[in-house]
Symmetry: D2
Subunit: 459 residues, 4 copies
């Protein structure tokens, strides 16, 4: 997954991009990048592994611009290197072109082969390089038409912010998989993955970039086009379930309100009548747990504390450190749990490893009964559209029945929200969402070799 | 403020100290240190600015020991340098001595002058160096007696973990200002500021080190002494209000339960009858806000989202970044707040700067009314005993009346918990607590030049 | 200027490349890079600013290969960035291609424009990217033919080492501007800018790659071709005068012997009959000064000492540090100089700044007379073929007469070696050398905007 | 070994100290430090591993002072850590004291035990901490008297620059083992190990600090005292042989002139009548080799080239890298050597490892005969007075006869300068020099456990 940000028409564009990326940091912590383009068309890029907070950005601040693009990239198993950090910045036909991409092109390998055979060269393994080459080849009259050319045969998910010459562009694939919003800050235009990035820079939300739309902003103003074949909307329901920040609006709906409603539905579908209290796995499940507590009329407690000072440091797997990975991140509040029958609400279970560690922690703190409730259906398949879910072999719900999962996790009961329940709970549902990872209903042909695909993914 | 940790008798002592410090990181992020002492009496120390997660600890792991001390130091305005990082490690009389200190010696300057006049030399400005010199001068027969000698004339707060030769020691000043607990992990003994550090290493809580007690652990076992003149207990109430982690027990009581009760009392003393909902300033006020909601029978909402990816990076104070400091850290959930009369619960107000920024954020997100409720009394004086509260000039409640504060913050109403209410809410109250920063009732003579004192402070 | 190295067929290829680059470090200290290609065709690149000695190469050592390319890049005024570090490594048509370039393509800008207009994208500003794009476009049957295609229309200087698939290639432009030699280490083949790089890895010198030749080494053996139009040789005489290491052979001749002879000639052409002694500006002029002393029958002294511990650190231009730049690097030996009439031999004078500082140093140490002798003619024009000489405005001999230069430098007499003297002194002279920077006799049309060219230069 | 520098009374004191250390860097590259003391008595210290050129000194430059001390420390086998970096800076009796030490206290361990028993604590293992404690204990009236007290019972070598309050002090042990000179820069006073440090800052040499003298500079002027018992002078002859820079004067004599004379004597004592040419092991033996060539009437050639770009990087000991250590640093000039009978002049042979590698290099380049000539006698014992020569077991001349050494090195003949020859060659000889490492004539009782001593050494 990734977060993208772009602004045009503000003297502090680079500072705004930094602020914007701070607020989108939850969408990716592997690497980040910021491009600054000034009035004279000169461009500068800072790309760095890790998060913005760890980076030295003095050099960036010496290159102010009126247009700036930012990207924050998710940590992936393979292909983690500075070569894949975005935004990409190249020179083509005498001008700079830059591009930040959130999503995953299902046919990137095919498009790449075509380009290689025609003599294109590739420095890294990201999808964005494919788009960049296609952009450079287009001889269309306007930046928007060039971007439309470049994205024409592309299959898969993309929310893209690009700069071509002095034009800032925002494009969203026709199924609208990934969010992309547009705001105004005085005369400046801002694009971002989530509205929380508009809030932090003080911009006003205008509207979402629509599925299939390209918005172009240049000195003469803002124009829009819908160059792609119309498709059924397939907005990613996982953004509501887990990924987006609760203070954001995505796909026009409030993430916090969506999660609250998912929790309420969950309580209706999967009550825990014998429980004494409800708590969440902080922080992404807080809203859902509150919804569950509200409907269940059970007390909401803070039974798990999360330590935010944990970095990427490796703790030695000694006798002492065996369970350290979960324990370094979470601790149970014994006084809340001791002797109680508890409901633990989480937003999703992917591999089950952390959940299992948490259940042990809760039991160890003296819980009498542990009832696990999940505010989404079982994850039974990988995502090919930009979320870094693991392959079938690692997905617990692709390999075990629900009773087996309950036993494996060590819980007294386990309840998932139904697919229908989830789709009815989210704003503007139940139609128009992609739920392939829950339902197996993939909007595109699944790739022949999905692992290969995900290695090449832009997010 | 600081966090301290010590362990004796475990082959993974250094790993345990690392884990322990992870869980005490909230007590200080300016610098940290870990000392390893092996069977042969060889010692190694890693001290580093910043947090454990940012540090390179490979070298440390090449120096395993059976005894280890750790310290995490709070960020202070002045005197922030590696020279002041702890634990202190020195060689004296042919053996290593090491010391980690949480607290503040009120008469450190006098003791230091005496030592300097007798020819002692000082490398840094921390109190711990004073204790170390006194320890080196004592010719008492046992490590515990030497530590008692060193701390004999000391006035002020100290929770100390020390290693002298092959003895691990834990000492707490007779007023018991700062917490210090003791646990067992198999045959190994563990000391730590808070019980959350016992949890993370898998140790069992045994008891608190008592005010005025020195516990010594050596190859022959554990012994205890009470060498100091008995004093009235003055445990720091601010540990319950704000400082300690909610999953810890300090002074024998649960921090989460204490805060929940502080919130309940607050709701009784300072109700907000017209309000639609309650929310907290995350994360330290969550328990109190839940207590407030419970008694008020108002919905508890997540109206403020905190960004945990923020580092120490400086954001340029440009036009755009003016309010950036608060906005980088917090955002409001508009859909929760819009058109509502809200209660914002915080644990304390010190300078008022952040609170004022938060109120603006909340108002901007459309709140109709903002009622501020604080789960402790107004902070009217500095702390000389280990909490880094600012001087009188910066404390909002030392310079404004409550109506003035309310106006300054921009709230519709402002309610603080009373001193009596606070002291009755905390476990084992209302007697035996220090509340000088709230009441002006200082257990010792306030120092002539408090700023000077705090510069020299060990925490 | 740059140094290049390549090896194929050795299990320690990466270590050999590291050693080779150590010995070529004098050819460039701005940045360096090493590419490793293993048996399976996987490739890894380490590129870093600064010198090899400063770099962390652990990661590189985790990627052993049987083929390795290295490049060390000269410090240039503009365009100093990691984007321009070499070797370039890209993926094309399913295989890795890598390229290290020493030289400068005079028509790079035109070739680049053509490529950009055809849709190619450029990440940096180096010439090598131009060659790489052309290489990718060629559909010729063999790697050597592809390289010949890529370099066909190229005007300017290139010594190139490249890897295409499992073939290692070495190419030299038809005028032979820059040196390139070939050696054997057991079954492995080694290419390098200078023979000192063969010595350090223990390889035996076989022969030079000839001007206009492409040598290809693949699993089936070594093959050679001469695909370019034949041209008059224009080997860079400055390699003998200053650039190459004295222990190297370049263009088939010994650098040390060449410099010795230049010094002898200089003594004949420009004697200093009244002088007491001769000394060199260490270290590049040592051989020439010895030759001067030998013919003059004057004692050779060590009157200037060079400090090799100086880095790139900036010394503040305070009152004290005004002359610091020269003084940090050199000091005079007063006891050698005091009261003496001295001959200072240097290999060349470019801007004159350092020379002027040295003369002041020598005078200050008590020299009675200072006679400057230079073992090459006045530098009157910039180099467009790979040496980073400055533009006309900065070249002292392009702006002053010899008497003016002597006065500016503060010397009692000034004598340059003649153009003919230089060309007769170097091995295999006087024909077949480029001496454009001394004579203005440029082998190609000088570029319209030479500054622009040199910004785009590959070295 | 170490280099020391101090200046008082100049507004750019810190920059001068930086320049001074640059020129003394050959005396130590393990770590360095600079202390700045301003008019108000505030002090700042930068200490860093490695050399000045590698360090970040921005922070230092934010702390200008009128008094500054610098120290550069030699790389030693054990005890290499930042704790041992100098200058030491402490607070004592309300003022800063700082100290930089070149030398080695033979009775440091005893003095340290006494101090530890009296309750002093030690942070590192350097001698300087011992001196600092003794300084702090002295209650004498003046800084000079306090320094005299501190150094009273000290046995061994010291050249010390110290700051106590606003007084800058320079002290030299009564045997005068290590050099220390004094200069003037306008009104400012400068002290340094060698005169090359005066040259770089533009100071004029005034005189040496005499053996047994303490010079004190304070606002009222300069005063001198000779508080120590008079001893026979034992200036270190190795400073002339190898250690000092050729452009320096030490002990009142020119290092370059001394080395030239050592080479001349060597040619007389150990001629090489059949040889064709002479060359030196650069750079320390250049002067001696010139002296040898002059007397022998043999040509002086540059047959060995030294690579100055080599850092501390570790080269893997693979097949390829077996001889890499010598080859990375040196290469032979084949064209000079091939078929020739050569004299290789070096200043000394310690372990013989490098020499052996060089002989192999020379033979490999085609030398017909190799005659080794050494401009000092065989090193048969360790130094306890500040030079880091290895213990008996590692000294080749302590374990082999001269014929055995010749065979081991692979030379056709081997000739050392005699002890008398050396002592008569150096300025102000033959009396008043320490030559213990050559003669076994130790001026003090050799320590019981010399290895232990050297671990504790200040240099």
């Amino acid at each position: 997954m990734c977060g993208i940000f772009g602004v045009r028409g503000h003297p502090d564009a680079v500072q705004l991009a930094q602020l914007g990326l701070y607020s989108l940091q939850h969408r990716g912590q592997e690497s980040f990048g910021i491009v600054s383009i000034d009035d004279a068309g000169d461009a500068y890029v800072l790309r760095s592994m890790g998060t913005l907070a760890e980076a030295k950005s003095e050099e960036l601040e010496r290159h102010p611009g009126i247009m700036s693009l930012g990207h924050t990239r998710y940590s992936t198993a393979g292909g983690s290197s500075i070569e894949n950090a975005q935004p990409v910045l190249v020179r083509s036909r005498g001008a700079y072109m830059s591009l930040a991409h959130n999503g995953n092109l299902v046919n990137a390998a095919e498009l790449r082969s075509e380009l290689e055979n025609a003599g294109s060269i590739f420095a890294g393994s990201s999808d964005s390089e494919v788009v960049m080459h296609r952009l450079a080849k287009s001889t269309a009259a306007t930046p928007a038409q060039r971007l439309a050319d470049a994205l024409g045969d592309v299959e898969g998910s993309f929310s893209i912010i690009a700069a071509i010459g002095d034009t800032l562009l925002a494009a969203r694939d026709p199924r609208g998989w990934r969010p992309l919003c547009m705001g105004k800050l005085g005369d400046a235009t801002v694009f971002a993955s989530e509205t929380c990035a508009l809030d932090i820079v003080g911009a006003t939300y205008v509207r979402d970039v629509e599925p299939g739309e390209i918005v172009a902003v240049d000195p003469s103003g803002t124009s829009t086009s819908h160059p792609f074949a119309r498709r059924e909307w397939k907005r990613c329901v996982f953004e509501y379930v887990y990924f987006a920040r609760p203070d954001s609006r995505v796909f026009g709906g409030s993430v916090d309100r969506a999660r609250r409603e998912l929790g309420r539905r969950l309580a209706k579908e999967q009550p825990a009548p014998t429980a004494d209290l409800v708590f969440s796995v902080p922080d992404s499940s807080n809203s859902a747990a509150l919804g569950f507590a509200e409907v269940s009329r059970l007390p909401y407690e803070l039974a798990l504390i999360r330590n935010h000072y944990v970095g990427r440091t490796f703790i030695q797997p000694t006798q002492a450190g065996r369970d350290a990975k979960v324990k370094v991140k979470y601790n149970a509040v014994r006084e809340v749990i001791l002797g109680k029958s508890v409901v633990m609400v989480d937003d999703s279970i992917v591999r089950g490893t952390t959940t299992r560690g948490l259940v042990a922690l809760i039991r160890n703190a003296g819980a009498r009964e542990v009832h696990m409730r999940v505010s989404s259906p079982p994850v039974t398949g990988p995502c090919y559209y930009g979320i870094n879910t693991p392959s079938y072999g690692e997905l617990i719900a692709a390999n075990m029945t629900q009773p087996e999962i309950a036993k494996h996790l060590g819980v007294d009961s386990l309840g998932y929200l139904s697919l229908d329940g989830m789709l009815e709970a989210v704003p503007d549902g139940p139609k128009g969402f992609c739920h392939a990872c829950f339902s197996g209903d993939y909007p595109t042909q699944p790739p022949a070799d999905p692992d290969k695909l995900r290695f090449g993914c832009g997010c």
